[in-house]
């Protein structure tokens, strides 16, 4: 910790504690040690002292004892040039400051019972509300816990002008934050500035005028520690528990307006204990303390138009958006809507014009949340039936954001845009196609509204990973082309990343128990090389899903010791499946059809099963309605493979898994496949090519029989023999 800050904090703490001692001794003289003191209507005594020390201060005598303790806590004033005070000493100085201030404020209540209004809103002759009583604390505290108020800002001092004060207050109010104001700067306070400007203040408008002095800042801390005790189940005297609860659960920060005094620094040092960062308009040395939190605790020299955003960035507040501001209705009901030629007002992409969509992650400082920019003409400048080149660049930033989540967010564009009434979206990446209907254009729908939708929905649905979203839409050919080129590079990188992932190098696999509602003992294990059988979840999706919803159906499993590399069996995977299946499935081979195969729910894309006469395996997809050489249609096979039972010889899989190097590796892999419906062959032909090359038979697909060859084993066997299918020469399947 910076020496200047430490010594200022210690200096300030000494001043405040001495002041409290003087006041306390005077009061003792006047009223005696048994005189009751306290804040109005609270069962938490002097809350900071009670929360941190477990000591209920009920009398002046008790207060004096706490002050004696403060004296022992207080580090010596820094005089010696060479002595470097430790972080702990500054934090302790801060803590003593808060204790002393609570006593100062309690004596104020004793001396002048009307010094504060004891109401929720200011009175005509007194604007200072003082400590929040338990009723206010409960009522407002609920909002912090349930997220309707994302946090609170403690403001010390006053803005240089009334206009700036109003601007800062409104900006904080718009973010639903509580603004707790105290302390003066050059005799002015922010509370007075707001009243001067005709702004209504009080708990009901979330602009709270605690008090005129900096000592009233302790009411804010008193609010937080009581919330921890009331909502967090933290016991009085649980020093560390209280600090940790507030650091993790109560999003508070301090904004200082005006020159920073030693007393302010002492208060700030106190607040830092709870992980409350300070954002100052005056110059201040930067402070980072990894032991307390991962963000900067002190940031100085921030301009007044940046200060609120900076505070939100630093403390990592989650912004809530409840309404999407567009002229059309929005919801899943409009997803399947088609815009036909007769209804078409405008279109882009889809081979008609250039079209591209890209979501990328950026550093927090590079993204301005809510910024939506359109470069080029919008729909209102286009005639009916017109079109434009189209490129949308979505830049997101977040503390939990990872580049791996980019494609997952990007894939959302499709349904998020389709949910808009009167808008149709097809495809993705550079094959996207967007149509906007006449009705939407009439109602004033513009391309920039796409940005609004994506900004709002990314925040609503992915708040765990996304903190900031900025959208740029290009409709000028040259700009779109530039974006397209850079997007292509990104796509290539992403595809390589997914292709390059193998089960051997990832230590964590994911579970999926989404389908347990109808297949209670089924547990999907999703590995980089074995995607979920429904085709909807690959390993990266599960990773993101877990990040977004940590208690949800996709849980990370450290795979543990590998029992069998060929069949794909791991210790921790077995343990997990056993537990999650209610002990019904004890062992799973991720790559085997015949021995402890993975169970299936009912939503698999394909079923793989054995054809004993051909010594091979067939795979049939859900869309294939005809008979198969196994003597069963898909529906019958599905009944055998599904339901969460391990049935050797029947396996529910995704199409993608057929093209994996781990596909039924235990039984010899792709070479075992003797029959596939033609439509499935065509669908996977691109993906399967490298695997065919791998096994040294580049035209392997042509050796696989399909319905044009036959519907029974007898019919296809001669074909396989003629082609010299490798399965015929492999070891017996059964």
């Amino acid at each position: 910790m910076s020496k200047i800050i430490c010594s200022a904090a210690i200096q300030g703490a000494h001043k405040i504690v001495s002041m409290a001692e003087v006041k306390c001794d005077e009061a003792l003289e006047k009223w005696g040690p048994d005189q009751n003191i306290g804040f109005p209507n609270t069962t938490y005594y002097l809350p900071v002292i009670y929360a941190m020390l477990g000591t209920p201060v009920e009398t002046l005598g008790n207060a004096r004892e706490v002050l004696n303790k403060c004296k022992t806590l207080l580090p010596a004033i820094v005089k010696d040039e060479s002595w470097l005070p430790s972080l702990d000493s500054a934090l302790e100085a801060g803590m003593s400051t808060l204790f002393a201030e609570e006593i100062l404020e309690a004596i104020k209540y004793l001396e002048k019972p009307d010094c504060y209004t004891k109401t929720e809103d200011p009175l005509i002759d007194n604007i200072w509300l003082g400590a929040a009583d338990d009723v206010i604390m409960r009522k407002r505290g609920v909002e912090f816990v349930d997220g309707s108020a994302p946090g609170f800002a403690i403001i010390l001092g006053a803005a240089p002008t009334t206009e700036i004060a109003v601007k800062i207050a409104i900006e904080l109010q718009e973010k639903n934050l509580y603004v707790l104001m105290c302390a003066d700067h050059d005799g002015k306070t922010m509370s007075e500035q707001l009243i001067e400007a005709g702004v209504q203040i009080g708990w009901s408008t979330r602009l709270v005028s605690f008090g005129q002095s900096y000592t009233a800042g302790v009411f804010a801390v008193g609010f937080a520690v009581r919330a921890a005790m009331s909502f967090g189940g933290i016991k009085p005297g649980d020093f560390d528990g209280n600090l940790l609860f507030c650091r993790g659960g109560i999003f508070a920060f301090i904004i200082t307006l005006g020159a920073i005094t030693e007393e302010w620094v002492a208060n700030a040092a106190g607040a830092i204990n709870w992980g409350v960062p300070i954002i100052a308009d005056a110059p201040a040395p930067k402070l980072v303390v990894p032991e307390i939190c991962d963000y900067e605790l002190i940031t100085g020299d921030i301009s007044h138009d940046q200060i609120v955003q900076k505070a939100i960035d630093v403390r990592g507040l989650k912004i809530k958006i409840s309404k999407i501001d567009i002229p059309m209705s929005y919801g899943p009901a409009f997803e399947g809507e088609r815009i036909r030629k007769e209804d078409l007002y405008f279109e882009c992409g889809g081979g008609k014009t250039l079209g591209v969509e890209l979501t990328v992650s950026k550093d927090m400082s590079e993204v301005e949340d809510g910024k939506i920019e359109i470069i080029g003409p919008d729909i209102d400048e286009v005639k009916e039936g017109g079109s434009l080149p189209f490129g949308i660049l979505i830049e997101v930033a977040g503390r939990q954001m990872q580049p791996d989540f980019e494609p997952i967010l990007e894939r959302q564009i499709h349904h998020l845009v389709n949910y808009i009434q009167g808008v149709m979206h097809i495809g993705q990446r550079s094959i996207m196609w967007l149509r906007i209907g006449k009705a939407a254009a009439e109602k004033g729908f513009l391309l920039k509204h796409l940005g609004k939708v994506i900004h709002a929905k990314y925040h609503q649905e992915f708040s765990n990973i996304v903190d900031k979203v900025q959208v740029t839409i290009y409709t000028k050919e040259k700009k779109v082309r530039e974006l397209l080129e850079s997007a292509k590079n990104v796509y290539v990188q992403r595809d390589k990343r997914v292709e390059g992932m193998v089960d051997e190098t990832e230590e964590t696999f994911y579970s999926c128990t989404l389908c347990q509602s109808f297949a209670p003992s089924h547990v999907c294990i999703i590995t980089p090389e074995r995607t979920g059988m429904c085709g909807a979840y690959n390993w990266l999706d599960c990773k993101a899903s877990n990040e977004i919803n940590p208690t949800g159906p996709n849980q990370p499993i450290a795979k543990g010791e590998c029992f069998d590399t060929v069949k794909g069996q791991w210790k921790k995977i077995n343990d997990f499946v056993s537990r999650a299946s209610g002990r019904k499935v004890e062992k799973v081979n991720a790559y085997s059809l015949m021995e402890f195969p993975m169970t299936a729910c009912g939503c698999f894309e394909c079923v793989a099963t054995i054809l004993p006469m051909c010594n091979g395996v067939m795979v049939v997809n859900r869309d294939f309605m005809g008979m198969t050489p196994s003597g069963m249609k898909f529906t019958t096979l599905a009944g055998l493979a599904g339901g969460g039972n391990q049935t050797p010889g029947f396996l529910g899989i995704s199409k993608h898994y057929i093209c994996s190097r781990k596909f039924i590796k235990a039984e010899g892999g792709l070479k075992r496949v003797v029959w596939l419906p033609k439509m499935l062959k065509e669908e996977i032909s691109g993906l399967i090519k490298p695997i065919c090359e791998d096994i040294g038979i580049p035209d392997f697909l042509d050796m696989i029989a399909d319905e044009t060859v036959g519907f029974t084993e007898e019919e296809i066997l001669p074909f396989l023999q003629e082609k010299g299918h490798p399965a015929l020469a492999m070891g017996a399947l059964i």
Partner: protein, 315 residues
């Protein structure tokens, strides 16, 4: 020859939860075996029945259900008193049906006043059940929590969409919450985890697995409850070791088989007995699946189920 009767190896216990206040506290849960497997473990607290009271006179009830309460349906307090004084109700469940935005849509403060009045006038534990509209329930249940501070209410349904708001309010005013999920063990567990993360204490959570009456999905509820109990009692699944509540009467009494007249469907038999039996049998099945609290309507159905509980506890 001696025969060893196989026994289930239990590893867990259902949490014991005390409801209500002062002298009229009721404890539920605490069982260390499957329902009524008294030869394998203990059930220290037999299942309880809460009698329904509506916040305003119901309009769609068959006469047979209405008849016992005809003189009190316009006054929730009198209704609740009658349940306690005449029918010996151990708990009351106040259904806030008229808060439904698609129905009477009474405002939250009015609803809260009704709840407060009932809670002031009765001494037994009081369950408050919302209209099952996520947003309206949030508003109504929060107001009720606030105004009824210190009454130790049991409030629900708390669902994924409003668990933070209602859960936090319940913590602040010290009420018990009913964690409600749509017939799915994993969702039930997840909601309990989320409530735990919010710091709702363990002795303030009751599971509502959702119910379909006989003929309308009872077997789904049954099997989910069964699985919840298996996981809780034999698989150390701590986040499922909570008592279970079922709000069954309002589901039973709206089904066709209970409401259709004898002239329309002569084969269905006597209309009143039909309703009573549908309710009693649905309740009976839920007892066997592990219910701790049953919210019921008809005094005769309640009588049958109470008797059955007594028999089972003494078997």
């Amino acid at each position: 020859m001696r025969i060893d009767i196989p026994r289930v190896a239990y590893t867990g216990t259902i949490k014991e939860i005390t409801l209500g206040r002062n002298k009229n506290k009721i404890t539920i849960g605490g069982e260390s075996c499957y329902p009524f497997h008294l030869f394998e473990g203990t059930m220290p607290n037999p299942p309880k029945i809460a009698m329904e009271v509506y916040d305003s006179a119901p309009e769609d009830w068959p006469d047979s259900a209405m008849e016992p309460f005809a003189d009190v349906v316009d006054d929730p307090v009198a209704w609740a008193r009658k349940c306690i004084d005449v029918y010996g109700a151990e708990m009351i469940a106040l259904q806030m049906a008229s808060t439904d935005p698609n129905g009477k849509n009474i405002p939250a403060d009015k609803a809260a006043a009704i709840a407060k009045k009932v809670s002031d006038e009765i001494e037994v534990p009081l369950i408050i059940w919302g209209c099952e509209n996520v947003d309206k329930d949030t508003e109504v249940l929060r107001s009720i929590c606030e105004i009824c501070e210190g009454r130790d209410l049991i409030i629900g349904p708390v669902v994924e969409g409003n668990y933070r708001a209602i859960g936090a309010t319940a913590i602040a005013y010290n009420h018990t919450v009913i964690a409600s999920t749509p017939i799915d063990i994993n969702l039930a567990k997840q909601l309990n985890i989320l409530l735990g993360n919010l710091n709702v204490p363990d002795d303030k959570i009751i599971i509502d697995p959702s119910i379909g009456p006989i003929g309308y999905g009872l077997e789904y509820t049954y099997s989910v409850m069964e699985r919840i109990r298996v996981a809780a009692l034999t698989q150390e699944d701590e986040r499922l070791q909570y008592p279970i509540i079922l709000n069954l009467a309002k589901e039973v009494w709206k089904i066709k088989e209970v409401n259709v007249s004898e002239t329309e469907a002569p084969l269905y038999g006597h209309k009143k007995s039909r309703g009573v039996l549908f309710e009693a049998l649905t309740a009976q099945c839920m007892l066997m699946a592990g219910a701790n609290i049953l919210i019921m309507r008809h005094p005769e159905a309640i009588g049958l189920v109470k008797e059955s509980i007594k028999d089972l506890m003494n078997s």
